[in-house]
Amino acid sequence: MRPFDYVEPETLEEALEILAGDPDDTLVMAGGTSLVILMKQDLVRPERVLGLRRIAELREIGASDAGVALGALATLGALARSQRVRGHAAALASTFAAVATVRIREQATLGGNLAHADPAQDPPVTLLALDGVAVARSRFAERRIPLDALFTDLFETSLERGELLLRVELPPLPKGARATYKKFLPATLDDYATISVAAVVATDANASVTHARIALGGAGPVPLRAREAERSLAGRRLDDAAIREAAALAAAATDPIEDLRGSAAYKRAMAEVWTERALREVA
């Protein structure tokens, strides 16, 4: 691997200072699972790598009345095992547990996962359906970025130069809400979903939908919310007709990229099938 300068600041302030000093030639490393591969392939050639591993405050997984806060440096494995995560939504814990292999989960982090912005990744899908908000900081300002505004394109986020992800905050779920994450993996070529669906639903005493979120992965250049499908469920019972209609709307909202995991047409068809299955599960 090509030589580079490695710095491991002890504090967040130090890290932001270093990053502000040379944002264009400094690459940030959390776990390193994606970055090290890119460096090995010589596809990126940073002058400097900023390692975040010593910044303990970024690892915290906390809960309060305001919901849960997941630190950017928390590993996917720690998140999968966390009682706080499981307590918020079992589907979120199982989403983290669905990523790759145990080795990757022990090294890869939430922040690295989000910053990498691969639309076929698992965590962003469920986090989107749970109305996640990313908190990012630069040397001079802190920003709250709703996750559906974080992912802007394939491998691109709205993070600005000099900004670091600190955590993802999830608001409390409506009482009685059910959540699920479905990962469709017909070929284990690289363990990324052909299509994945996260659905969160809450109903009132009459079984009418009061809260609906449907998010899809592998369905376009970014993980997306199927808002029209969500709206179609409002105030309705989750019966066959409602579910079928929502699933069709979700599929129509996709803009899948053709690749080894499936053609665009196949992915769109599977988006409908798996949205239906997800909704049946939370009905």
Partner: protein, 147 residues
């Protein structure tokens, strides 16, 4: 990899054709190009493209392989490489203009990715190529309008 793009320009066909065939001008319309200079009948320059965290610097040439002004068609050949990463891009671009104020320009490209650049994956490359094409088409329209 085959890509296609169409753009409608509110200008006479002759004007659109004129800008297209003026390679140094047309080349500067490709977003991310720099150091564009005439190279014989063609043009040479460098295209900076970012694909996620990967930065490519594609240096190469574009030449007109054939043209038929009456029919409004032309074929360009583009050859560029990124020596640092170790890869090349070769493209055959078929241009055709139809109509006359408004004039429709159709750009059909057949792009081959060689070497390391291919590791980025077809999906990602196709997406960036589409963006570049779209940017080019828009700039072309603006350039023609300004004449």
């Amino acid at each position: 990899m085959k890509l296609e793009h169409r753009v409608t320009v509110d200008a006479p066909r002759a004007k659109v054709w004129g800008v297209l065939m003026d390679l140094p001008v047309a080349a500067r319309c490709v977003p991310g190009t720099r150091d564009v200079a005439a190279d014989g009948d063609g043009v040479r320059g460098t295209l900076d493209v970012r694909v996620g965290p990967v930065r490519l610097a594609l240096g190469g040439t574009v030449a007109i392989e054939s043209r038929d002004e009456a029919a409004g068609t032309a074929r360009l050949r583009a050859d560029a490489e990124d020596r640092r990463i170790g890869g090349a891009v070769r493209a055959l671009v078929d241009l055709s203009v139809t109509g006359d104020a408004p004039t429709e320009l159709r750009i059909a490209s057949d792009v081959a990715i060689l070497g390391r650049i291919g590791e980025l994956g077809q999906a990602l490359i196709a997406r960036q190529a589409e963006k570049v094409l779209a940017g080019f088409a828009e700039c072309l329209r603006a350039t023609v309008a300004a004449r």
